[in-house]
C-alpha cells in the first residue's frame, strides 16, 4: 500500500533522512522505532507532504505523492495523527472530530463515521461538547486518533502516540491501537517506546540518525541483542 523508495529529506542544510526505503502492506501494523532525533517525525511529515523529499519517492497504492500538495494527501486515504496530539484547543471534541471529516468524500459519511468513532471511544461521546484543550493527555490522544479516523482513511499514521503520557495511559493508548487494528485499519506507528509498540505491531524498522539500521518481525527485533542492549537496557 505505502512505499518509500530511497527517500532523503532534510531541513535546509541539515539532512534528516538518508536513502530510506520501507513498505507497508494493506492490513499490516508496522512500526518505525528509534531514539530521539532519529528522523521519525520527519519520516511521517514526508509521507503526509508537510515536507518535500529531496530525493526518492513516496507512493500510496502505486500513486506517487511527489506532485500531491499536502492538503490533498488525505484524499488518497492517508490520515496523519501528529506528534503531541495537536488538537484545536478552543474547539470542542466534536468540532475537532468534525474537521477530521473535512474532505468532500468524508463529509458524505460524517454521521456514520462519528458514530463509529464514538463507539470506539465512548469517553469522547461523553465529552463531545467539552473544549479539547481541557481534556487530559490520554483523552486528547484518543480524540486525536478519532479525528484521524473520521476521514475513513486507508492508512493511519501515528506519530509517537505515547509521548508525554503517564505509563498507565500509555497502556491504554496502545490498547486503543490494538482496537483499531482489530477493525482492520492499516497502521504505521512511529515510536520511541520500543517495548510497548513492538507488542502491537507485526513488523518494525529501526531508524537511527536518518537511516534504516534494521528491520524485521517484532518478535525477532525484541529478541535481538543489539536492540535489547541499546534500547531496552538489558
Amino acid at each position: 500500500m505505502l512505499e518509500l523508495k530511497s527517500v532523503s529529506a532534510g531541513y535546509g542544510s541539515f539532512q534528516a533522512l538518508f536513502d530510506v526505503s520501507l513498505k507497508v502492506t494493506a492490513g499490516e501494523a508496522v512500526a518505525v522505532i528509534g531514539p530521539n532525533g532519529a528522523g521519525k517525525t520527519t519520516l511521517l511529515r514526508v509521507i503526509s507532504k508537510l515536507m518535500e523529499v529531496t530525493a526518492g519517492e513516496v507512493s500510496m497504492e502505486g500513486v506517487s505523492l511527489n506532485t500531491v500538495p499536502s492538503h490533498r494527501v488525505i484524499e488518497l486515504g492517508i490520515a496523519h495523527v501528529p506528534e503531541n496530539r495537536r488538537l484545536f484547543p478552543r474547539l470542542t471534541v466534536e468540532e475537532n472530530l468534525r474537521i477530521g471529516a473535512y474532505p468532500q468524500t468524508a463529509r458524505a459519511r460524517y454521521g456514520e463515521r462519528l458514530e463509529f468513532v464514538y463507539s470506539l471511544f465512548p469517553r469522547m461521546q461523553e465529552r463531545r461538547d467539552q473544549l479539547a484543550g481541557t481534556l487530559s493527555g490520554g483523552e486528547q490522544q484518543m480524540c486525536a486518533i478519532g479525528r484521524g479516523l473520521m476521514s475513513g482513511p486507508k492508512l493511519l499514521l501515528l506519530d509517537e502516540p505515547s509521548a508525554g503520557l503517564a505509563p498507565v495511559i500509555v497502556q491504554q493508548v496502545f490498547g486503543l491501537v490494538q482496537k483499531i487494528r482489530a477493525e482492520g485499519y492499516t497502521v504505521l506507528i512511529v515510536e520511541q517506546n520500543i517495548q510497548q509498540v513492538l507488542k502491537v505491531v507485526e513488523r518494525a524498522y529501526l531508524l537511527e540518525v536518518g537511516r534504516i539500521k534494521a528491520s524485521g518481525k517484532s518478535a525477532d527485533l525484541l529478541a535481538s541483542d543489539e536492540i535489547r542492549r541499546a534500547y531496552i537496557g538489558l
Binding site: 503526509s48 500538495p69 474547539l91 468540532e95 474537521i99 477530521g100 473535512y102 463529509r107 479525528r147
Partner: protein
C-alpha cells in the same frame, strides 16, 4: 415598542431618552463595522489596521455608482460589497501573505502603510470634500423623539449579519476550519484544508462585511478620505473589548461604547463622549485583558 417608548418618555427627560435610543442605534452601526474586523482580526488573527479604509472604498464605490452613474441603490450596494470583498482578497494576497510568517507587528505596520496609501490615494482621486448620498431618509418619530431610519436599518442588519456569521462559524465545515486555523495553522493540511484558501476566503468575507457596513454607513455619514480615522480606531477597540473573535462580545461592546459616546456627548461635548469610551477601554484592558466575553489567553 412604540408604547414602551411613550411610557418611558413620561418618566425620563425626553432628550436623554432620545440620546439613549440613538446610542442604541449607533451601537448597531459600530457592531456592524466590528463584525468584519472581528472575523479577520479575532478569528484568523490577521491585523488589518486599514480595515476602515477598506470600508471607505466601499462608501466611495456606492456613492459614485449611485450619484454619478445612477445605479439603483440596492444594486450599488451589491457591487460595493463585492468590490470591498475583492479588496480584502487582494490585501491578503499581496500585502499580508509575505509577512504572515514573521511577527504579528509586521502585519500591523504593513497595513498601516496601506492605510496611508488608501487615504492619500482617495485624496488624490476624489479630493478632500465631504460627499453625501443626498438621500434624506425620513426618521421614525415617536412622540418628540426622532430616530433616523438609516440607523435602524444598520442596527437590524448588524443583528442579522451577526447571527448569520455566528451560525456559519459554528455549524459549517468552512466555518470550523476558519476557527481552527488560528489555533494551529501548521496541521491544517493534515485535515485536508488548504490554509491559503481559508485565508483568502476569510479575507473575502471580512472585506464583504466591511462593504456591508459601508453600504449602511453611507446612508447616514458623509464620505471623505479621512473617514477611516473616525471609525477605524474605535472598531478595533470594540473588537478587543468584546473579546477577540467573539461575535456576540463585539456586539455587546459596540453597544456599550455607543452608549458612552452618546451619553457623554449629551452631557458634555461629543469629544468627551469619545474620551469616556476610550478611557473605559483602557481601564477594561487592565481589569479584563481578554475582553468582556473573551476566554483567558
Amino acid at each position: 415598542m412604540y408604547f414602551v417608548v411613550k411610557a418611558l418618555m413620561e418618566i425620563f427627560d425626553v432628550f436623554l431618552l432620545e440620546t439613549v435610543l440613538n446610542g442604541l442605534l449607533f451601537g448597531g452601526v459600530l457592531a456592524l463595522l466590528a463584525l468584519g474586523l472581528n472575523l479577520v482580526f479575532g478569528v484568523i488573527d490577521v491585523v488589518w489596521i486599514c480595515y476602515a479604509e477598506l470600508m471607505m472604498i466601499g462608501m466611495y464605490a456606492v456613492y459614485f455608482l449611485y450619484t454619478v452613474h445612477h445605479v439603483p441603490l440596492l444594486i450599488a450596494f451589491v457591487i460595493g460589497i463585492a468590490i470591498v470583498a475583492f479588496a480584502g482578497v487582494v490585501l491578503h494576497q499581496f500585502v499580508i501573505r509575505p509577512v504572515l510568517a514573521s511577527e504579528p507587528i509586521n502585519q500591523l505596520l504593513v497595513t498601516g502603510g496601506v492605510l496611508f496609501f488608501l487615504q492619500a490615494a482617495a485624496t488624490l482621486a476624489f479630493g478632500v470634500q465631504f460627499r453625501n448620498l443626498g438621500l434624506a431618509l425620513p426618521g421614525v418619530t415617536i412622540g418628540e423623539i426622532m430616530l433616523p431610519q438609516s440607523r435602524i436599518y444598520a442596527a437590524g442588519t448588524a443583528l442579522v449579519a451577526m447571527l448569520g456569521l455566528a451560525l456559519f462559524l459554528k455549524k459549517t465545515y468552512l466555518g470550523i476550519a476558519i476557527r481552527a486555523i488560528s489555533q494551529d495553522r501548521a496541521i491544517m493540511p493534515l485535515m485536508g484544508v488548504n490554509p491559503s484558501r481559508i485565508y483568502l476566503i476569510t479575507s473575502a468575507i471580512g472585506g464583504g462585511l466591511a462593504g456591508l457596513a459601508a453600504c449602511l454607513l453611507v446612508l447616514q455619514y458623509d464620505v471623505h478620505p479621512a473617514i477611516g480615522l473616525t471609525f477605524g480606531p474605535i472598531t478595533f477597540l470594540v473588537c478587543v473589548l468584546g473579546g477577540l473573535g467573539n461575535m456576540l462580545g463585539g456586539f455587546i461592546a459596540a453597544f456599550i461604547f455607543a452608549q458612552l459616546i452618546s451619553i457623554g456627548g449629551f452631557f458634555f461635548h461629543i469629544e468627551w463622549g469619545y474620551v469616556m469610551a476610550f478611557v473605559f477601554f483602557i481601564v477594561m484592558m487592565f481589569i479584563r485583558p481578554q475582553g468582556l466575553l473573551g476566554k483567558k489567553r
